[in-house]
Symmetry: D2
Subunit: 327 residues, 4 copies
């Protein structure tokens, strides 16, 4: 499963973990402004905003897991298995804009300079389940879309496409977002400060350890528990606002829901792990990432590429620990 989060200091940061038991072969991929995007039902888009993100590139098409465009809008798709329902193609002449599930990230990021514009675009869109190819059936997903001002969650449900304000700026997987947000009410008493004794004034109860104010916060790897844990961590996170301090803190936020190999067995001897963790400075177009086997932060800068180009720029992930020796 996965976790996404936003973070704001001087700049705006957007990132996610991708948790799964194997990788399709992910690459940090820059789509420059003049790369022609072929939309299945909407024709070919000749020029658009540039974007950078993590993608599996199939037939030269960037199937983005998460990306940020040059206007500072970030977006990530996360598993939503059992809940995601896509629509049939709307064939009416004055019908809605038919966008395939796998096209949603480029469709949005190519055109929208803000979440306000995203809402507008979504309102006239019909999200359909046409798969990319026979080998790549439609994934059941929901999305978080954010700019520095606000975040929304987009969920294709049985009764239509839902767009929710996302005041906490995080997303995991099931259950649907409204229910995840509702469950946070159960944790409202949790605090980064030490607890006070409200059990009984006649008992001499004490905090025997630091950090007891958040007792009750879950620590397992299920999507509901990760939502609560990362929400608490993100909402209470403090850091300096320099670039290095910000991204360091961001990786600590998502690190709070890291999936360790062995703790989530999805089939005999198969374990879901956090394949990669990303943190994109959406304001500056820098995509940082770590992988399960490489703790060092690696970076790709959108603006070091030819943004007016026509071809994808692709960077395979650097995996394997990059140890620095001091002696």
């Amino acid at each position: 499963m996965c976790t996404a989060a936003t973070y704001k200091t001087k700049d705006f940061y957007f990132g996610r973990t991708l948790d799964y038991e194997f990788s399709y072969g992910d690459e940090v991929t820059v789509t420059p402004r003049n790369y022609k995007i072929p939309f299945r039902y909407m024709g070919e888009m000749e020029s658009h905003y540039a974007m950078i993100g993590m993608a599996y590139v199939a037939e030269d098409y960037p199937l983005y897991y998460d990306a940020v465009n040059e206007k500072g809008v970030g977006m990530a798709g996360l598993n939503f298995v059992g809940n995601a329902v896509y629509q049939e193609v709307d064939e009416a002449e004055d019908g809605k804009e038919n966008v395939c599930q796998y096209e949603l990230i480029p469709w949005i990021l190519s055109q929208c300079a803000s979440v306000r514009e995203v809402r507008e675009l979504l309102s006239r869109m019909n999200l359909v389940g046409t798969p990319f190819s026979e080998q790549l059936p439609a994934a059941q997903l929901h999305w978080i879309i954010a700019d520095e001002k606000e975040a929304i969650t987009v969920e294709p449900m049985k009764d239509g496409l839902k767009v929710h304000e996302n005041p906490v700026g995080v997303l995991t997987n099931n259950p649907p977002f409204e229910q995840q947000m509702f469950q946070l009410n159960n944790y409202m008493h949790l605090s980064p400060r030490q607890p006070e004794n409200h059990f009984s004034e006649k008992l001499n109860l004490t905090a025997y350890s630091r950090g007891m104010g958040a007792m009750g916060l879950p620590g397992d790897l299920s999507s509901a528990s990760r939502f609560a844990k990362v929400a608490f961590t993100k909402m209470n996170a403090k850091s300096g606002d320099s670039e290095l301090e910000s991204i360091s803190q961001f990786f600590h936020i998502l690190g709070s829901v890291d999936q360790q190999r062995g703790c989530c067995e999805v089939a005999d001897g198969k374990y879901e792990i956090t394949l990669y963790t990303s943190c994109c400075n959406a304001s500056k177009g820098i995509y940082y990432y770590t992988t399960y086997e490489n703790h060092q932060i690696t970076a790709v800068d959108l603006y070091r590429e030819e943004l007016d180009g026509t071809k994808l720029f692709r960077y395979p992930l650097i995996t394997g620990e990059q140890i620095r020796w001091q002696n």
Copy 2:
């Protein structure tokens, strides 16, 4: 507070987090075999096993937080505030060996080639509270000591020095170790696998997310919750047995109890964070670490120093993210 853990693949690994709101100025410090260790009541030790670990060096004396010796014995001191009680100096002629609290790590690691030998040494030792200096009063600590075969916990209590087998190979802080171990019974049903429905066979309950088998595992930063979380993570951890796979997995294990800045407020605007995380290959004498602001793993190799030397070798920590640029 802090967390320590052991891990065994082909080699034996030992490490810890040090969580606090400020640093004394820590250095990876190698004590070579002929560095003369001045013990307060036991005289000067002229030669001994070499050791490597994290220390605050005061007056050329290595005040180790954690270290490993050349025989593969590892040891770490962790806060035990409110429970640690040190003894008075035993002045009887045939009395026990008086060792100061701050000397315990060098006292043990300088002489013991195994935990079996540690037990022996502890049995004739009297742990006293004499401080290192007026500026550095005695810290209230307990210790985990381990080799590749076994781990023990050493706790100076009101009724004497307790030595407990530590079958889980982890340590945090309060409450005392026996109570921490006992509390694990409350989590015995947790599993890395999906839960089965035992609630009622008449209800169609389902696991709506991966990772639900460990629901109930705590996720706050208190020492009792960190104990349960890291114990579950460590006991279920899986990795390849190469050096890089092993240390990568080890940092993921301790990452499960990472303390993020903002989530544990210890005074107005002061936050406890994981200052550093260490992982020592005790079999090969390589000390790896990360710091809160540097995700890259840095390493110091015991055997690249002159082990028969007489002076400390000191490596100030590399802090600040070491970003690797791909473009």
Copy 3:
């Protein structure tokens, strides 16, 4: 707040707790077949099924909290504050049947001999918020309706009247029923049997107490926690099938979510308590109850009244402990 439950042995039992900080003056009330029921928009019903239940009788009208009719259909209204939304009166000629919120129990129980018939009736009904009187504004409620074969939950929501199958046969308050049911997935591993060690086969964890298989079941008095607790208790309940064994067990089931005075402070010095607990043998028309201050079970038998009568039969609750002295 409140809790309702069903139970089946030889006969079918239906009951509830009513939790609040004061009582309106409740009476066990029998509505005989020929008591004329004046419906606000649907005219006067001259004859109908007889029913027995707990009501506040206002202007000779039985405002039932819960009741059972002579056909064995039981029904209870429970608080649903913040979620219940009633409709405007449907004034179309071929419109739906307009039924006021306070009329729902008599409307259903007067006409339906089974839950199947209830579904039918609900499908052509429009539930409106017209209050009984100025002094008695419309309560925000949802309902559980059950016969010996099935149970349903009826919830008037913003987007219409929802009718849910209720496989667990219990109801509390917020959040909406589907969400309560979903949350039971989080408890699927709980069991009346002792837990097995799935934490780690390398640790010798043991069950140090009986009853540990349900660790994780909540024990506070919130509606979400009561739902989980009473669902577990009801689904695992065992008893003989005689009348006395059945009702004894039923009161134990609802006793599991009893609200003790002092544990739920709703305003300074005001405490919500379980004002009464009822258990109706729906098959035989016997209404049993206890009150907070009277642990003895008191009973009223529908069939000891003149069922073809025209006037309500009313039995004020017996409160105050009825102690039996043995010497």
Copy 4:
């Protein structure tokens, strides 16, 4: 397993549940002042304080589970399996007073007019494991002893007889009492009042139900969870101070940890239930009880017996619901 509690209004109340899968045949038993108590090692006591309580009477000897004497001292023995360790008989001439485990209640209650006197008596006592008979081996127990001023817990441990102040006035079973008290620290933030939002001031979290202030309180039937639940309930309990209000409230306090048949399976098809619940007005010598199958409160009054008598007065429990019919 079992739960005991104290409660103070105008008078002092002391009671317990006895939870088990079968009954030995319990009777409310009055031991008058001149009933000769044969102590195994301490000779026969000819006259003493009178006492009333629940006992299994074997060979005319009252094996009390719980009792109260005419001086207002109450005492109950609860299972302490795996922890209770009894001593060998002290055969020294000036040795301690050897008292058998099964004699402890009569030994204490026959002689002590206050807990202060109990402490004194315990200090010169040696608790031995000699069984009552071959058929009745020594039970592994610990005890709560209380008067209106204070309560203590007495635990026979491997390293001797422990006497702990019991500020909460409750006792269940494992783990040992000090650990149970320590665990209450984990619940210190729980409150009968609604929770406040400390999670994040930027999120609009709300209490969607009454009773959410105690979220985190456990609701399963294990001894550790019952300790927390009953402690919270007792410490926050409010009632009028009349006799009926007090005992009503007391039964609600212990009702909070009632064990329902089916929820604690101790062997295939065998279920632990709350066989009886008692509440003794220790000030007035009135023993009230309910049984699993009889919700009505039944009472026996110490002072209605001939207190200077020589023979036990025995009242078999009234079981089976005592229904009161209103029509």
